[in-house]
Symmetry: C2
Subunit: 115 residues, 2 copies
């Protein structure tokens, strides 16, 4: 369950703008703020089943987006390559500050996608 | 018009999997294979106006996806940073083959998104 939550959080970061506002709200409360289904259903005055169905459907949508665009997979690969560049540079006799700065800029750009 | 075609090609590369098969086919013929609206309408036995409307709507959708996910903007930024890393390394007294290899792997990963 924890693994699933981590993955849903990650996919939600990448594909959130493609969801409806209601989907975004439910996902945020359930996966980020750790609300229970019952609490969300009270908050929105809908049945617990409706909340459950919506969140489940949204989870399927997020996996479908990932199948199509692979933003999370590529993000993980890039971050691993950036670490490799850093390590490689730190082994160098005279590490280049310019290179480290560029790697930092690349890492920052990745974080934009995961706010 | 050329600039618009270049941009549509680029956005199409990134968001193609989110389009319907018909949208994909029309965009491909019009922007990649340089078919005219008339030729596409003959090919699919629909009116020229229907093809025009579909392509126009798809163009709007692609821009909306880019507004939301910014894949093309981020791709361009990353490619510029990779060039910077390369240049930086080539100015080095002893360029590192490991670093160049990692940059190549990063560039290859970007190309996956634009097939």
């Amino acid at each position: 369950m924890l693994e699933k939550t981590v993955r849903m959080n990650a996919l939600f970061d990448f594909y959130q703008p493609l969801l409806t506002l209601k989907q975004q709200k439910y996902m945020e409360l359930y996966f980020l703020d750790d609300y229970s289904l019952g609490e969300i259903s009270e908050e929105f005055d809908v049945s617990r089943q409706a909340v459950y169905d919506n969140i489940k459907r949204t989870g399927v949508m997020l996996e479908e987006y990932e199948d199509k665009l692979e933003l999370y997979r590529k993000y993980q690969l890039r971050m691993a390559y950036y670490r490799q560049l850093r390590n490689n540079e730190e082994e160098h006799d005279s590490p280049s500050p310019g290179l480290i700065k560029t790697i930092q800029a690349l890492e920052k750009l990745e974080e934009e996608g995961t706010t």
